[in-house]
């Protein structure tokens, strides 16, 4: 058993967006009319289909598996019938939709209460892969689903989500004995530490065998990459796993009961959402059921985001909640209003980190915002903007330039192995030149994975 210890992490850089539309209420549970799994939400996986339309599946039945590591399954979160396999160009699998069985209660695969107790490390990895929960973890470098043949140096568990309007993990019914079971299980898979973060001042169920990391500071303080970079940065040749506390809880439940839980809390939030609140529903629930009666009826164009405003996926009423988010955010698209001389505006309602706007002097005011770029795409002009938004020992500007010039040596030297696209999302928000940093970083990671 490893020694329990606590680390303190005070992060200064970053920003909590003053976004309106917090969800405070607890809403009635919802049984979605359909749930979907999008293989694109699991980077690093090349999906191969295991089911056909019309097949009956149980909760935990693999819908897809990875081509390279067939043991990694993307499992159905619910028992029911495969309703749709949507394919895009070149027959790429976009999503697999499952209609829950009429009873509403998800049937389970392996419902025996037998605990999972594999004998060897290989068995433990294999069992976790097949459960579908493996795909819910990420690895650094590359921000992909972990490769089963690499042994992680450490495991980083994020205990809170610091993204704008994100779901509070404290409301997710996390069970202390599940966490302990999961930590015991995962500690067999790594020789290093298991770090679990929490906000300074928040309580964490007492767990043996972990290093607690108490973090204070604005977003992206909750990101796994930020925690890893500030505690034990990923060096070339090393691998670390990252996951969040809710997934850890799920792994624990699976270890204890042999079944994967598929209920999840989803927060309905955002400045253009009404009757906001937290609902208990199924993983991958459809927006149609989830957001019925929650979109403001004000005649504006809306943007529905599966996830938060920084890293989420744009979708519509026909879409679904996407992994790894537990959040549906509704904001104004903003293209339905004419604004004259917007660059000269002194309106206190414009969200900005720049002190040329009055709102920067009134950080307590919550603002609505919209999806407009608020300007044209430009070359990098201002310097130092990224640094203020990234609490990591990474020089983002030279790194982005190295990625754009596909300079492998520089990318390595500047720390591409330590970063995930979500870590640069806030810098992308603040960038006056409107450069697509997350896209650039993702392309850089894919390039490194192919070439290096």
């Amino acid at each position: 058993m490893k020694v329990n210890s606590t680390l303190q992490l005070k992060l200064k850089r970053g920003l909590d967006l003053p976004l309106k539309g917090e969800a405070l209420e607890k809403l009635p549970d919802i049984v979605p009319s359909a749930v979907a799994i999008y293989p694109d939400d699991f980077p690093g996986i090349t999906p191969k289909l295991d089911v056909r339309e019309g097949d009956r599946v149980m909760a935990g039945t693999p819908l897809m598996h990875d081509k390279e590591y067939p043991q990694i399954a993307l499992a159905s979160p619910v028992g029911g019938v495969v309703k749709e396999v949507l394919r895009g160009s070149r027959r790429k699998i976009i999503r697999v939709v499952v209609t829950p069985s009429a009873e509403g209660t998800p049937e389970r695969q392996g419902t025996s209460d037998a605990a999972i107790a594999p004998k060897t490390r290989e068995d433990a990895v294999e069992a976790l892969c097949r459960s579908g929960l493996w795909a819910w973890m990420r690895q650094l470098p590359y921000d992909i689903v972990p490769r089963p043949d690499a042994v992680p140096r450490d495991i980083f568990v994020t205990g809170f989500d610091s993204a704008p309007l994100a779901t509070d993990f404290k409301q997710c019914g996390i069970d202390g004995s599940n966490l302990q079971a999961a930590v015991d299980y995962l500690s067999k898979l790594t020789d290093g530490n298991i770090y679990v973060s929490c906000r300074r001042g928040d309580s964490l169920p007492s767990i043996d065998g972990i290093t607690r990391v108490e973090i204070s500071g604005p977003h992206p303080a909750g990101n796994a990459g930020v925690m890893a970079n500030n505690i034990a940065p990923v060096n070339k040749g090393e691998t670390v796993w990252t996951l969040d506390l809710v997934t850890l809880d799920r792994i624990g439940a699976w270890v204890r009961t042999g079944a994967t839980a598929s209920r999840t809390n989803v927060t309905i939030c955002g400045p253009e959402a009404v009757n906001r609140g937290v609902v208990s529903t199924l993983v991958g629930a459809d927006m149609q059921t989830l957001l019925a009666g929650h979109i403001a009826d004000d005649g504006r164009n809306h943007r529905i985001i599966a996830g938060n405003v920084l890293t989420g996926v744009k979708t519509d009423m026909d879409g679904f909640v996407r992994f790894p988010y537990r959040q549906a955010t509704v904001i104004a698209e903003g293209d339905d209003k004419d604004e004259m001389l917007g660059w000269a505006s002194l309106s206190p309602n414009k969200m900005s980190a720049s002190r040329t706007f009055p709102s920067a002097f009134m950080p307590w005011r919550k603002l609505s915002g919209d999806a407009l770029l608020h300007g044209g795409r430009r070359a990098m002009i201002m310097s130092g903007v990224y640094d203020r938004m990234l609490p990591m020992d990474i020089m983002l500007e030279p790194l982005v330039k190295a990625i754009l010039s596909r300079n492998i040596e520089d990318m390595e030297a500047l720390g591409i192995y330590e970063i995930a696209p979500e870590d640069v999302a806030l810098a992308e928000w603040a960038d006056p030149s409107k450069i697509e940093l997350q896209k650039i970083v993702r392309e850089g990671l894919e390039y490194m994975r192919r070439e290096a």
């Binding site: 060096n235 604004e339 660059w343 414009k350 969200m351 900005s352 407009l372 020992d393 030279p398």
Partner: protein, 405 residues
């Protein structure tokens, strides 16, 4: 719908590919995005963006330059009245402002028309959006030039600078040298006779019936304080104004001295600096370290003052207030594109500008002003400074790996 918006929407087909006015597409796009916030919404990555864009950044700098521009107008009128020997009763505030306005307007228009013209053409050729960089450059150019610079020289210099210092590198954001300073340097080296001496810094003729005639015969000397210092020979050095009365440091701080149009008033430059720093547009590291560098070098020069380098008789504070030093520190050195971009690099970059500006000014009597050359020189070194800082980060990462192995 906004009636202006309707006009723009109606005219759009004319400017699109195949329209009758398609060669003016970039002009149309430029005005459209200037008047109305473009309705482009985010298509990848973040769903919201900070409200700031490069237009607002550039406009903030222009606003910060307005005190210098307005004071430059006043001072141009003031020097004209003073040089003509007018008695106090004849000084009229609005008269002097009008005179200065008439003096600077043609230069301002020349710089903007030539510069923006080239920007529009290159945007059209490259099928890109118009970029805002010249909004600032266009107002900087008349501010750093002597008031008597002929418009055609400004036109030639602006065209040279915009094409060869900016567009050939790829446009705004890609240039190595500060475009306004390249304009000034071009004028300085291409037309040395017209750009120095004691005649160019004071407007001597009435403009459109406003202003007075300055008579050179009356012991008039329009030399700037630094010009006087550079040509000083022996004896006690007393800097004077254009009619021979001694100047105080206060005169230099307020700016009622001859000099380039917008550079004379340290007070107004500090107001501009406050706007830039409160707005978070200029980097305080650069401004601070330029002043520190200038003070250090000014102190060294003053400690070892020598008659062969008369500028060394100036105290460090005088060094900061005279000439273009303060203007360069606040508005030229802080250009984010041509300055060092790393936080640590900015200290080195700024400090070296301060040192080199005073070094050139003091120990090279051929150049009465060193700030321009110092900024241009450090523009060239900024990438090297950044390279060293970035190497530090890379080394830290490499050492981490080695210490592990």
């Amino acid at each position: 719908m906004n009636p202006l918006r309707r006009i723009f929407d109606k005219a759009r087909p004319l400017f699109e590919e195949g329209g009758r006015l398609s060669p003016l597409r970039s002009v149309y796009e430029g005005f459209d995005s200037f008047l109305f916030t473009p309705k482009t919404t985010s298509s990848s990555g973040v769903h919201m963006h900070d409200s700031i864009d490069s237009k607002r950044i550039m406009i903030t700098v222009v606003v910060a330059l307005l005190p210098c521009l307005l004071f430059g107008m006043y001072n141009t009128g003031y020097q004209n009245w003073l040089g003509a020997g007018a008695v106090a009763a004849e000084y009229s505030f609005w008269g002097m402002m009008l005179y200065g306005f008439l003096a600077v307007l043609p230069k301002l228009l020349t710089a903007y028309i030539v510069g923006l013209g080239i920007e529009f053409i290159s945007a059209q050729i490259k099928h890109e959006e118009i970029q805002e960089g010249f909004l600032v450059t266009g107002i900087l150019i008349p501010l750093v030039c002597p008031v008597n610079t002929p418009c055609w020289m400004i036109a030639v210099a602006t065209a040279f600078a915009v094409i060869f210092a900016k567009e050939v590198f790829g446009g705004t954001g890609y240039n190595i040298f500060n475009v306004a300073l390249v304009t000034r340097a071009f004028l300085f080296f291409a037309y040395p006779a017209q750009m120095s001496g004691d005649k160019v810094f004071v407007a001597t003729q009435p403009i459109m019936g406003v202003g007075l005639t300055v008579n050179f015969a009356d012991g008039f000397s329009g030399a700037t304080p630094l010009g006087q210092a550079a040509t000083h020979a022996g004896g006690e050095m007393t800097l004077t104004n254009i009619v021979g009365d001694p100047l105080s440091l206060w005169d230099a701080f307020v700016g009622l001295i001859p000099g380039s149009f917008g550079e004379t008033s340290t007070l107004c430059i500090l107001i501009g600096a406050a706007i830039l720093l409160i707005g978070g547009i200029a980097d305080w590291r650069i401004i601070l370290s330029v002043f520190v560098g200038g003070t250090v070098m000014g102190f060294v020069a003053h400690t070892f003052d020598s008659p062969s380098y008369p500028c060394s008789f100036l105290t460090p504070l005088e060094q900061l207030c005279y000439g273009g030093f303060a203007f360069a520190a606040v508005f030229m050195a802080t250009d984010p594109v041509t300055a060092a971009r790393t936080a640590a690099g900015k200290y080195v970059y700024g400090f070296m500008i301060g040192v080199i500006a005073i070094l050139i000014r003091t120990y090279n009597n051929g150049y009465p002003e060193g700030a321009m050359l110092a900024v241009l020189l450090m523009n060239a070194f900024a990438p090297l400074i950044d390279y060293c800082v970035i190497q530090g980060n890379k080394r830290r990462r490499r050492n981490r790996l080695i210490s592990k192995a």
